[in-house]
Structures are given as C-alpha cells and as structure tokens.
Symmetry: C2
Subunit: 418 residues, 2 copies
C-alpha cells in the first residue's frame, strides 16, 4: 500500500502531464468536453443523489448544523443547476491566447504578452458539493488541470460527481488526469497537496477561516486567499437615511451566511439619533441580534453591549455590531483596523466624503450607495466565479476565468543580441 | 533590550502606518521626494563610500570571491548611477490611480477597477548595495512603504545609503517609516519578516537560489519569486547557423553571471555536425567550458562529458551544457523537464517550429531568433525593474512599477440592493 503523500504526489504528476495537453486544446475542444461532462452529470443524476443521501445521513448522525446540512444536500434541481453551470462556462469566451499587449522595442524586437493557463490548480474546499463541478469547469475552460479536495462530509457526493465528469470527459479530447479528486479524507492529504511545489502551480482554499489559515500558513505553493469578509457599511452624516436603511437591511439580512454580508454598521453621530431608532426594529423583526457601542445602547434598548471581539468577528449569521462614530476619519480608521479588506460601503450624498472613502479604504471592493452584497463575479459581469480573493497579489475581489490564467512574454527577433 | 522579532514587528507597524499616507501622495509629491533623495545621496557620496570601504575590507578579510567583492564595491561612478536611477524612476509615469477598466452592470451599478499600491513591500536581497536605492525608489513611486533587508556583507553601505535616502525624504511630504532598513544582520530578522502577515503585504527575495528557497518555503506572507534561470537556446534543424552562433555566444558570454544567460544549448542532430565544430572554438577562446552529451563529445573533443546534474545546473559562469537532440519534440521535453520557466529561445527559419515553440514552452519569456539576454525590464520597455519573476501568480517576467501595484474594485451606486 502506498502512503497518502505518495498517492497525492502521483496524482499531481498525472495532473502536470495532463496540463501540458489541456493548455493547447482549442476553445471548441474544451467546450465539447464541458458539454460531455454536463450530459454525463445529467445522466448520472440518480447515482449522485444516492451518494449524496449517504453523506447527508452521516452528517445528521454526527450532528452537523442544519445550515451545513442544507449546504451539503443535493436535489434534482441542484444537480440541474450544476449541469447548467457547466454549459454556462462553455458559453464564456476562452481567455487563453489573448494577446494582452504587444509592442516594438528599440532593438527591433517585437515583444508581446499573451494569456496562458496557470498549469495545475488545486482547490481545497468544504461542504458544498456543487463547488466540485463549478471549479472543475472553470479551471478546465482556462486551460488548466485541476486537483479537487473537498470536505470529508461530502466525500461520497464528490466521488460520484467527479466520476460522472471524468466519464463525460473520456469521450472527448480532454487528457486523462485533467480532472482529479483526492479521495483520501485524511488531513494528511491536504498537507501533502501543500508540498507539491513544482507540480501544482497554485492552491485556492475555499471555506472557513480555519481552512484558509491552515493553507496560507503551511503551503509552499503560491496561494490565492479567499473569502473572509468582515464588511462594514458606514452611514455618513450627509446620508439619505431611507437609502441607508434599505442598504443596511439588505447587506445584513438578504443572505447573512456569505462573505460579502455586512458584519458591522458604522453610523455618524449626527444621524445616529434619527437612523438607529428607525432601523433597529426592522432588523430585530428579521431576527437580527444587535451588539452596540455605548452610544448605540442608549438609542437601541434591545441591543447587547459589544465587546472588542465583536469588531473583529465575521458572524456569518443574523448578528450585527453597531458603532456610532464621530467622523468619517473615525470610520476610516475603524475599517483600517478591523476590516478584512473584502467589501466596504459608504452611504452619503457628500461628493468629497464619497471620493475620500473610495480612495482611502483599502479593500477588494469599495462601494458608494450600494449594498456590499454585490461583490460577486456574476453581479460584476465577470461571468462565473471561482471565489473572492481578499489578497492583493494576482487577483483581488471576485475571480473569473482571467484570474485562472497568467501571461508570458513572447518575443519575435531577427537575430538580435545584446 | 527588545528582541529582534519585536524590533521587526515595530518596524512593520511603522511601515503600515506610513503606507496609508504614501498611498495618497500625488505624483508630484512622490517625484519631489525622489529628487530630494537623489540630492541627499549625491551630497553624502563620501560617507557612503567610506562605509562601503569598511564592508569591502571585511569581505576581503573573510575571503569572499572576487566576483562578490566586485558586486559589493561602490565607486563615485556607481553612486552617481544610483542618483541617476532615482531620477529615472521619478520620470516614469505614476501607475497609481489608473482606471484599468470601468463598465456598467445590469443593476445600474458602475463598476471599475482602479490601480492602487500594494501597501508594504519587503525586499530581501544580497550583496549589491545599489539595490537599496533602486528598490526603495520603485516601491515609493508605486505608492508603497518599503522594508529593506540587505545582506550582512553590505550592512554598512546599506545603512549609509538608507540614512541618506531618509534624510532627503524628511524634507518632503513622505511620511516617516516609508523607507526602512532592517539593521540586524541576524538570520532571525529574515525569519521575523516572513511572519509579519497583516503588516507586510508582499515579500520579494532577490538573490541566490538558497535565499529564494528559504523565503518561498517559510514565508506566511505572499511572495514574488525571482530569478533562478536555467535558460536554453535550441538550434532547430532549419536554423540560420550564423545567427545561431551569434545568439549562442551572446547568450552565454556577454554576461554569464546573470539569470537570463544561457546555461544549456540544444542542437538538432541535422545541424550539429556543422554548427558545433564551428561554434565550439569561439566559445572556448572566450573561456567557456563545455559539458556535452555523447554526440557532442564526438564533435567537440575539448568538451567534458555532461552528467545528469549538468542539465539542471544554473552555472552563472562560463560553463555551458550542450545536448544534441533528435527533434523539436525532444527539445521541448528537455526544456519542460529541466528548465526553470525563465527565458527560452529557438533559432529557426521554420514558421511552424517557431509557432510551436512560442506556444508550447512554459516560461516567463519565450524567444524566436534572439538572445535570452533581452529578458529585462529596460530591454522590454517597462522602465526600471524590481526583479524578474519566475512564478506565475501576479507577475511573470521582468517586473516594473505596475507589478508593485494591485487593483481594487470601485462601485458607484444609487441605493442598489440585491
């Protein structure tokens, strides 16, 4: 029996060999593979649902939260969404081969930058099995081989999905090894992936803060960090307060469990007395628990006292920290200190406050007069999305196909030497 | 006394505080700072040379190689080059604030990507003290704060240079802490830098393979890997052999100690008999030691037998590995196996061989009919250069000012919610 580490290394080698071939597939070849994968997924829907039922049963037995079980559970409708997801990726334009820019230099060389695949992309993710199909499709369309490592709670679902995808791909020009699942649910498998420097080109962790921290701190492979969002909405002294209410309610309540939901509301003291007593009942009736600074507590009797930890917390739940601030400067300082550089919004009618907020807030997405919930590849018009990067290198904010590629310089000469 | 780790942490905190201010300086403010730094460097030339003389003396005493001592040694001319380097960076266009792209999405939001500084950039480098001024200038022009950590052999020179730069900067709007040197030459200082996640945004190691490996494997901060180049020139069966000779001689001999110099020459068997006996004497008379495959040895009696390790070696010296190959495919496989994805060249008159080489070689820069020595920010027309990235994320190939920035999404709304 071979070790987990050796097994992962072999899979990474197979992926690297496949990547060279995937990189030179044409757009029609890749799209045909995606269509075959979509058909196979549809055809094997019942097997996938049966495998998923096993996962759901184990999850219930081990007492997973109902929110997690909901994310884990597939249905015919969700499988149909995965099928449609594959076809949607097929319809996106091929990013590979685009000449980003080309120019001539004084030596007479013609220099160009051309978009090329990254190579082998490793995705490490948690409960939602639909990530398996989505991530495979995006990596493939960008000309990469992909190694998937899902959570142990979804292992049967992921196996069934990858089996279907591979079966579909076999009918096409996609080389074997282009889509692989790490089947071991042992934590050692993740540790082994993080050591495949030279074979895996980039790791993208998708999931909770613990998973991301583990990968960021231990990987020797470049990582694209995703997702942790301690997002703020700041209501300026010169805000349209009706708009502020709508945005705050939407940013907190429309889908509290996602990274672009608001976690802290900052309110300028000049409008706090008017805004908070009007807004709080609307939040409370939606089940939101409010944790406020002393000035908030004076205006919202139902609120609990916020502690220092509340300003740092990504609740991902119907909980909201609220702080009254003296100025735009205090809001900017609070965001710089506690924010995770994900999505930050100001509500204001003041031109220069809007300009300062846009310029000075250091985050992947900075909004004026809109909900932070728009930070999303689809909403930004990038097509599908592989995740939201909260780091500054390579990709920042929602990542589409382009972020799954790199460039290389190509240089045409006629015998030039230095 | 505070620990090295605590000292580094305090410097990183000061850099982060400075970075917020540097980010909002205008181009004229930054250029004025660069000009003041240039003047201070010029004014303190004699102090810098005296400090450098100490370093050179210690280096001689500890038996450093003459090549390293040459890289370490400053002269009035080299200081003048540093001064001119600062002014050249001042003349480059400011990358910060460029709207890379902006568009409107169906929700009515106007979404744009704007170029912004990275924040705090850490540079870890070795012998050459001129890197100190160059790197500081580039980081500053791109709106970043910079923390420099040079080699212990150049510590006095680096202290004197940074003292001059800081003195110049003090007369301007540049905030204190924007340019800092880690003065400890203890290895712990590098280890401490690599742990300043959340304070330092990116680390760029510049130097030998050992330094780069250490940073890549141990940093919890995103790293831009630079420099190791095992570069190949492949002479195709349909090459202009005069051109092949010129390119091979230039790529090997013009400056053998740099990362874009050729380390292995691959020759198609159809032209080996004609090329190698003509080329070898020209290489030998320039002092090049040739290590060849068996077919090379038959054609070049002066060559030594190459071992497996020779195909992997970055000599950075007047040594060349030579291999005769049967086909373009064998050349491509050899490069995929042994190359470091830096710079690779084909010499050919064949249209489809050129196209295949450009498409299939996975490297930062791929050439047809030109010397690999052109991989350089200046030669590619990017202005100055902070290093040559051999990784695929964020930056690939020569890195100019743009690679010292990131982007953020800015979103203009009128109350939109989801």
């Amino acid at each position: 029996m071979i070790s987990i580490e050796e097994q992962v290394r072999r899979q990474a080698q197979a992926a690297q060999a496949a990547a060279r071939k995937v990189a030179s597939l044409s757009a029609p070849q890749k799209n045909a593979a995606l269509e075959a994968m979509a058909r196979a997924l549809k055809r094997r829907c019942q097997e996938i649902l049966a495998a998923n039922a096993e996962d759901v049963q184990s999850a219930r037995a081990s007492g997973l939260s109902s929110a997690l079980i909901d994310r884990l559970t597939l249905s015919e409708g969700r499988v149909a969404d995965m099928v449609e997801g594959l076809r949607a990726v097929a319809r996106l334009p091929d990013p590979v081969g685009e000449v980003v820019r080309a120019w001539r230099v004084p030596s007479g060389l013609e220099v160009g930058r051309v978009r090329v695949p990254l190579g082998v992309v490793g995705i490490i993710y948690e409960a939602r099995p639909n990530v398996t199909a989505d991530a495979a499709a995006l990596c493939l369309k960008a000309g990469n081989a992909v190694i998937l490592r899902g959570g142990s709670e979804a292992i049967n679902s992921n196996k069934a999905i990858v089996e279907a995808l591979v079966q579909g791909a076999e009918e096409t020009d996609l080389p074997p090894g282009a889509i692989q699942l790490i089947e071991s649910t042992d934590r050692q498998a993740v540790a082994a992936m993080m050591k495949q420097r030279g074979l895996i080109d980039v790791l993208i962790p998708r999931g909770g803060a613990g998973l991301i921290k583990n990968v960021v701190e231990n990987s020797t492979i470049p990582v694209i960090e995703t997702g942790v969002g301690n997002c703020h909405v700041y209501v300026d002294q010169d805000a349209d307060l009706d708009m502020a209410e709508r945005i705050a309610i939407n940013a907190k309540c429309q889908r509290p469990g996602v990274c672009n939901a608001m976690e802290t509301l900052l309110v300028h003291r000049e409008v706090a007395e008017k805004l908070l007593p009007a807004l709080a009942p609307q939040l409370l009736e939606r089940g939101v628990q409010i944790r406020g600074c002393p000035r908030t507590l004076a205006l919202v009797p139902e609120a609990q006292a916020a502690e220092e930890a509340d300003w740092r917390e990504e609740y991902l739940d119907l909980v909201l920290a609220v702080k009254v601030v003296d100025s735009l400067d205090e809001a900017l300082d609070h965001i710089a200190r506690y924010g995770t550089k994900h999505s930050e919004a100001i509500v204001t009618r003041d031109y220069s406050a809007a300009r300062r907020f846009l310029r000075e807030v250091d985050a992947a997405a900075v909004y004026v007069n809109a909900s932070t919930r728009f930070t999303d590849g689809g909403q930004f018009g990038l097509g599908a999305e592989i995740g939201i990067s909260t780091q500054k290198l390579h990709a920042r904010g929602p990542m589409g196909l382009e972020e799954l590629t790199t460039t290389k310089f190509i240089v045409y000469g006629e015998g030039q030497v230095r």
